[in-house]
Every structure is written in structure tokens, then in C-alpha cells.
């Protein structure tokens, strides 16, 4: 009896400790986030006031107005231009990655050709090449191609990534053979089978790969910092850091910039969190 009761108590205690731990972690994650968003809607006088306000007493859009309409330096640029650059580069590159890697993945999953296995493992070895080794040679390549300070430098190199090929191959392998055979009988060409049978059937995989590619390219910092050097070409994350230099003393504006940069990715995350979580758990990608 005595021991039974103590077991029940011990279980309750573990449960309480577990929840307390998770709530603390969640609080540590959420508090700065709420604070940032709050500040972006606060006028500077309130931000500087003591004691600090976490939520804005009277929300204002002044900081966003300022950041979106201020023309930067001499060039008549605003943050809107960086936003456009980010959207353009990210969507163009993501589309390219999806098309090129899914075609290669299809070849590896569904077609027989000499040298397939060797090629697959040869390409796969690129997984092990650390990013830092490629930084300088890639920069020199961009220079040789005349792509420094152009968006080509951001759009095309991600198409060489092997992960998409591997990921799409795994998905294509799981599609039943009979479906392809039916298409062959209907007289579909090899490309027709890929385009009209396999791609539509792998919409979830294409979406997942697209989301991860989008997040990766949108957030990238080092590469755009290295290959772009004029204000009008920059992407949002790099622009933000440059811009902050001039506005560092205006906290509300800085925070509005951070909110603008993160809003698209957070939106994508909230909408697709299930796919993202599942993909990370199944394949271990998105690692840093």
C-alpha cells in the first residue's frame, strides 16, 4: 500500500517536472520572440521607458512605415527592393532545384543505364564536402563567369545540391510499378511518364523539398554576403545587417526589419509545420 501510493506520487512528480521543463523551454523561446514583435510596433519613446513594456500599450505602424519608405543612402532604394530580390532569387532557385533534381532522381529510381550505381555513389560523396572548402573556389568561379553582384550567383549553384536527387529518388522508388506500366501501354514517352504520372503522384515530396529549399535559400547569409556587393542587389537577410549599421540606435526600426525578414519563413513554417517536422524526422535534413 505504502509503496503503491509512493509510486503514484513519484509518477505525478515526474509528470510535473516534465511539464515544468517544457514550459520553461517554450517560455525561453517565446519571450524574446514576443518582445521583438512587440517592440516593432512601439514608438521609440516607449521602448526606452523604464520599466520595459513587452506588449505595446498603443501599437503603431510607424517603424514599418519608416523602414519601408526610407530611401537608403544615395541610391533611392528601400527595403522593398531587398524583399523583391529575396522573393525573386528564392522562387527562381527553388523551381530550378525541383525540376533538375526530380529529373535526376527519376533517372536513378526508374531507369536502367550503365554506370548507374557508380554514378549515384560518386555524386553522393559530395554530401561529405564541407561548405567552407567550396567558398573560395565558388567565388572565383562566379568571377570567371562574370556573375559577381548578379542574382545568377544565387540562383544557379543550389541546383548542384545532391540532397534533392536523393530525396526524390527515395520517393519515386516507393511508387508502384504498375502505374508506370499502365502509362507505357497508353503510349506515353519516358518524359510523359515522369511528367504526367510520377510528378503528380509525388506532390507531397515535391512540396517538402520545395519548402526546405525555400527556407535554405531565403535564410542564407554567407554566400550572398560574399558574392553581392551593391545595395540594390542584396537579399533581405544581408541587407538587414547592412541597414542595421545605419539605424542601430533606433531599436523599433531594427526590430521591424527583423520582423519583416522572418515573417515569410515563419508563415511557411506555421502552414507546413507538419510536413517539415515529418521530413526532418524521416530524413534528418535541414541540419545545421
Amino acid at each position: 500500500m505504502q509503496s503503491n501510493a509512493s509510486i503514484i506520487w513519484r509518477n505525478r512528480l515526474t509528470k510535473a517536472v516534465t511539464y515544468a521543463f517544457l514550459i520553461t523551454l517554450a517560455f525561453l523561446v517565446l519571450f524574446p520572440t514576443v518582445w521583438i514583435v512587440g517592440q516593432s510596433f512601439m514608438p521609440e519613446e516607449i521602448i526606452l521607458k523604464w520599466p520595459i513594456h513587452v506588449l505595446p500599450p498603443e501599437p503603431t505602424l510607424d517603424n514599418f512605415d519608416e523602414i519601408l519608405n526610407t530611401k537608403m543612402s544615395k541610391q533611392e532604394l528601400s527595403v522593398l527592393r531587398w524583399m523583391f530580390n529575396s522573393v525573386y532569387v528564392t522562387s527562381a532557385s527553388t523551381l530550378g532545384v525541383l525540376l533538375v533534381t526530380s529529373m535526376a532522381g527519376y533517372a536513378f529510381a526508374r531507369l536502367r543505364f550503365p554506370g548507374k550505381t557508380v554514378l549515384f555513389f560518386g555524386l553522393g560523396a559530395s554530401f561529405l564536402v564541407p561548405g567552407i572548402m567550396l567558398l573560395i573556389p565558388s567565388f572565383m568561379l562566379m568571377r570567371a563567369l562574370g556573375w559577381i553582384d548578379t542574382h545568377h550567383a544565387l540562383i544557379w549553384p543550389p541546383l548542384a545540391g545532391f540532397f534533392g536527387v536523393f530525396f526524390m529518388r527515395q520517393f519515386f522508388l516507393a511508387i508502384p510499378k504498375e502505374l508506370a506500366e499502365a502509362a507505357v501501354i497508353d503510349g506515353a514517352s519516358a518524359f510523359g511518364i515522369y511528367w504526367r504520372v510520377f510528378l503528380p503522384l509525388s506532390r507531397p515530396a515535391v512540396a517538402t523539398l520545395g519548402i526546405f529549399t525555400f527556407l535554405f535559400i531565403w535564410n542564407d547569409f554567407t554566400w550572398p554576403l560574399v558574392v553581392l556587393n551593391s545595395d540594390e542587389m542584396r537579399t533581405l537577410p544581408v541587407g538587414l545587417v547592412v541597414f542595421i549599421g545605419e539605424y542601430w540606435s533606433y531599436q523599433g526600426i531594427v526590430m521591424a526589419g527583423a520582423v519583416l525578414t522572418s515573417a515569410p519563413v515563419l508563415l511557411v513554417y506555421i502552414i507546413f509545420q507538419r510536413q517539415i517536422t515529418r521530413a526532418v524526422m524521416a530524413t534528418g535534413f535541414g541540419g545545421r
Binding site: T18, Y19, F21, L22, A26, V29, L30, P32, T33, I52, T101, M103, A104, Y106, A107, F108, L111, F113, P114, S126, L128, V129, P130, I132, M133, L134, L135, I136, P137, S138, F139, M140, L141, W156, P157, L159, A160, F162, N219, F221, T222, V226, P237, V238, L240, V241, I244, M255, G257, S262, V265, L266, V268, Y269, Q273, I276, T277, M281, G287, R288
Partner: protein, 308 residues
């Protein structure tokens, strides 16, 4: 064209007739071709030139380009900044990898054992992972500044404020703490997946045998998720030793002094401030090769441990 012409004059069992099998092989190569072009240009090419660059004297501004053997590597041995940066990066990588692994493992264990709230907590805890380092860096530079939010909270609770980014002894732990905040969600999901894969009957059997929580954790759970642990430790270490955005944004390129100056920052400045491509290439290659061997070792170890 000429190929066609020749083949028609060749024997009847022409190697150029299109059997279904050959047709399929051609289709395979065609599907692969666009990717292969990108792979060769943007990956294979740079890997090869990484090996060349390390052995040349190549200063962009002066236009010099000549083979100089091992001179770059000799320079590296004598470069105090290289060793300072190497030590800082190593310190940061070890601290961040350890912290991330421990926090992520605890969070995964906690998440697995609760029912209501599981999804909500998981969504919240993973969220920072999807943010850019530029956002994280800017925000934390304010949070951790002398009069920032963190110090305000500390003082409100009666603790002395800390010079998070200005004290040479604290700046790397601060960067590490921020990186854990940013990134622990990723290993957490990997561990969660590994925990779900542990067969439930094993736990029941252990409980029937009267094993306590600690015994279950150390004798069953940890050994069974060892592949995931190893994967996370190695990939995290490789990622964090290449830390760049954090010191670039947070401490204005490695301050105070050189106390948060990292190896990738040193490579970046050598290449893109001083345009000494050869020397920067040699440092990048050295770091890259060490990481590569490290990654290979991981695969060997993983191969050995996953056979249960």
C-alpha cells in the same frame, strides 16, 4: 550526322539500333544530364580548384598567380591569428555541440512522455530553427547588450548584470548560448524520431524487472539511439566549427579584440578583405580535409553500430 552515316555502313548487328534497353539508357542519361551539368560546374569543379588554390600564391589585387608549393601551409603554421581563430572555433564547436545535444535530448525525452500539448510544444521549440542567422544575430545583439533585455531581467531578479558580448571570457559562451537557442530544435526532432523507433516491449520488460528510470535511460534508451546521437554529435560539430554569421554580426567580426575571432571569419577576411586567395584557400582546404575525414569516420562508426 557522321555517326549515322558510318553506322549504316557497318555490320547488320549495328551497335546503333535502338533496342528498348538502349532507349531506356539514353532516356536515363538525358534525365540526368541537366543535373550533371550543374554538378560538374558548381560542385566538382570547385572541389578540384580548392586543391589547386591551396598551393598557389594568388593575390587578386596584385594579380600574382604562381605555384608556390607548401608556402601557404608554412605561413599558416606561423600565423598567430590562425591558431587563435582555430582555438576559438574549437571551443565554440565543443561547447555548442555539447549544449545542443543535451538540451535537445532532454526536450525529446520530455516531449515523448507527455500527451496533451505534445504538438504545441514541438511546434514552438522547433520554430527558431527556420530563422536566418541575420535575424537571430541582430536580435541577440540587442538582447545581450549591456542595457539589453537579458540584463534588465537579471537585475530585476537581483543578479548582477553580465557583459555578455564585451567580456573576452564570456563572449564565446554567449555566442554558444544563442546558437543553442537558435538550433536545438533540429537535433530534438532527430532524437524524437529515434526514441519512437525504440520498441515499446523493451521498456515494459525493463519495468517488470523493476528497472528505475535512470537505469532504463542509460541501459536501454541511450544505447538504442546511439546512431542518432553519433549522427547529431558529428554533424553538429562539423557545422559549428564553421561558425561565421554569429561573430560577424554579434561581435562585429570577432571582438572584443580577437576573443570571438573564428577560423571561417579569418578565411573570409583573408579572401575578401585582403584578397589573398591562395592563403585563404590553404586554410579552407586544411579545415575541409579534417572535417571530411571526420565525416567519413562517422559513417564507419554508424555502419558498425546500426547492426542490431
Amino acid at each position: 550526322m557522321s555517326v549515322r552515316a558510318q553506322s549504316s555502313t557497318a555490320s547488320d548487328a549495328s551497335p546503333w539500333t535502338l533496342t528498348p534497353r538502349r532507349r531506356e539508357a539514353i532516356a536515363g542519361y538525358l534525365f540526368l544530364a541537366p543535373y550533371l551539368v550543374f554538378f560538374l560546374v558548381f560542385l566538382a569543379g570547385p572541389v578540384i580548384s580548392a586543391f589547386v588554390t591551396a598551393f598557389v600564391e594568388w593575390e587578386l589585387l596584385r594579380g600574382t598567380y604562381r605555384f608556390n608549393g607548401l608556402e601557404n601551409f608554412e605561413l599558416m603554421m606561423e600565423d598567430d591569428l590562425f591558431w587563435i581563430a582555430m582555438r576559438n572555433s574549437l571551443y565554440f564547436a565543443i561547447m555548442t555541440t555539447t549544449g545542443n545535444t543535451v538540451v535537445a535530448l532532454c526536450a525529446a525525452l520530455a516531449l515523448k512522455s507527455i500527451r496533451p500539448g505534445h504538438t504545441l510544444f514541438r511546434i514552438i521549440l522547433y520554430a527558431p530553427v527556420v530563422l536566418s542567422i541575420s535575424v537571430i544575430g541582430i536580435v541577440f545583439r540587442r538582447l545581450l547588450s549591456t542595457f539589453g533585455l537579458v540584463n534588465a531581467v537579471l537585475e530585476a531578479v537581483g543578479i548582477d548584470s553580465v557583459n555578455w558580448l564585451g567580456d573576452p571570457n564570456i563572449v564565446i559562451p554567449s555566442m554558444s548560448l544563442m546558437t543553442i537557442w537558435w538550433g536545438f530544435g533540429f537535433p530534438m526532432l532527430i532524437f524524437l524520431a529515434a526514441l519512437y523507433a525504440v520498441p515499446e516491449p523493451l521498456y515494459e520488460a525493463a519495468r517488470i524487472d523493476g528497472a528505475g528510470r535512470w537505469a532504463i535511460l542509460t541501459r536501454i534508451t541511450l544505447p538504442l539511439i546511439r546512431p542518432a546521437l553519433l549522427f547529431i554529435i558529428v554533424t553538429q560539430f562539423i557545422a559549428h566549427i564553421q561558425v561565421f554569421g554569429q561573430p560577424y554580426i554579434l561581435t562585429q567580426e570577432g571582438g572584443p579584440g580577437y576573443s570571438s575571432y573564428t577560423i571561417v571569419l579569418h578565411i573570409y577576411r583573408t579572401a575578401f578583405r585582403y584578397f589573398d586567395m591562395g592563403y585563404a584557400g590553404a586554410m579552407a582546404l586544411s579545415l575541409g580535409v579534417v572535417m571530411f575525414i571526420f565525416a567519413l569516420l562517422q559513417f564507419r562508426l554508424l555502419g558498425r553500430y546500426t547492426e542490431y
